[in-house]
Amino acid sequence: MESILELRALSKHYSTNRVVDDIAVAVRKGEFFSLVGPSGCGKTTTLRLIAGFEQPTSGEVLLDGEPMGDLPPHRRDVATVFQNYALFPHLTVEQNVAFGLERRPHANKRQIRAEVADALALVQLTGKEVRFPNQISGGERQRVALARSLVLRPKVLLLDEPLSALDAKLRKEMRYELKKLQRAVGVAFLFITHDQEEALSLSDRVAVMNKGKLEQTGTPQELYRQPQSRFVAEFLGEVNWLNGACVRPEAVRVSRGLPAPAAHDAAHSTIGIVENATFLGNCVHIEARLPDGSHCTAEVPQHDCDFAVGETVNIWWHAADEFRLSAGV
């Protein structure tokens, strides 16, 4: 499958600071691709390199096979949704969405109006055409930003943490809206976020970035179940490092009553003393101390027994739920 967007050995240095360090990404046509990492890992800079707001120190950005070189942003067939949407305050919703179309040399007013109407319908904002950005809600502003970019039918849509300006509840709603939109439009989305939950829930594929470098690329399942580095393992969720292996808390089983239940196939088991049991609603978070002094975290469904602090419990997990990191962790 051909990539619609490819980053080859892309680097951006500021004197000794390697903000983006030799990254390679290939986004496929129609894919929802996330670039995820902690603040300061270089993901926003990467986005700016793709959009053309910055020039790489070395490496290439290729759009649909064409190297971008030093092409300025207004000549690149990518569109960006900015973190705070950057809607033009002096233009109405309609005028905002029409802005990119009007810059094109053979702009036809009637055609523009039709396309704008279509774009607004797509994001369910029909009826708000003559409002100004300061007269609509945050969620609506985001949709205007999406319409404004998508109406240009870019090859790739870049989204810079588009959900971070919304409150938690709206954020969750907008996630599904965004995914639906992407499916409907079929344009490749490159989605930048620091929230691993967002990245895992929305994407076809994810790339994890850390300190300018790309740690691992793959499907959400691959990254979660087979992390290739400690960083990826810990970034995407909680991990237990026990006996030289890693186990996710939700795979750790806890039970009362010694001796341990009959051995499951190749399971590892041990005993532990409960130090903390936090009720989280749908599950219970248990921290236990093992005989060798190390600690273990388990997430158990809440309808299992209530464990008391100080209680001695059985702790075990299936071998299949273990993963070892690749060599050289």
């Binding site: 959009a51 207004h74 900015f82 950057a86 033009f88 802005f99 404004r148 970019s149 240009l152």
Partner: protein
Amino acid sequence: MRRFLALYAGAAYLFLYLPLVVLGVFSFNSSKIATWRGFTFDWYRSVFHNAALFEGTMNSLIIALVATAVSTVIGTLAGYALWKKRAPWLTNALYMSLLAPEIIIGVSLLALFQWAFRFGHLRLGLHTVILAHISFSLVYVVIVILARLRTFDPALEEAASDLGANRWQVFRHVTIPLLMPAILAAGLLCFTVSFDDYVITSLVAGVDSETLPMMIYAMARKGISPEVNALSAMITVGLGVLVLLASRLERSR
């Protein structure tokens, strides 16, 4: 402490406004001396019938309008360019022109014009005053524009660029419309500074391009003139209105 401050502030405002208020009041005084004799509009009438004053006002207006137009345009462009990328030599030059005493700007421009006139049969006149006014009012425009640009979200220009606008289109369709209140405020400020100028103007104006401040100065030197009171009151109110307008514009988005 609070009450003391309030009392003090009251006194301070009184101090600031008393002379102007007194002037305004006595512009209606029917007597020429400082004792109140009766209410009259005579001095105002006399001002409007004074042909020389009218010509002076016209000169001041023409100079102020032309200088404002030029300064505002080139100052805005320069402010924008400086915001994008600093140019310390130009910023320092502008800063210097703000600090330089008016008398120095005046005499050095006079020296320039006298020297330049050797190369043509030119004299001092409205044109030299206009050039001088552009020179010292530019810095005001740049300051106002830069101050507004400091709170301007750069993402707006980037978004426009991202959507396909080249640099000139970005400037024209996004930056200028959003900068307009500041541009107008800068223009009004420019106008006020130019209209009011005496020192520089008096040095570079020719014999037949007297401005209003020059005439007021001459009258003030001679002694109390009720016509000056009336004229002053009108100018003060007029300029005051312009300034309030400018500050309103600067604050609006």
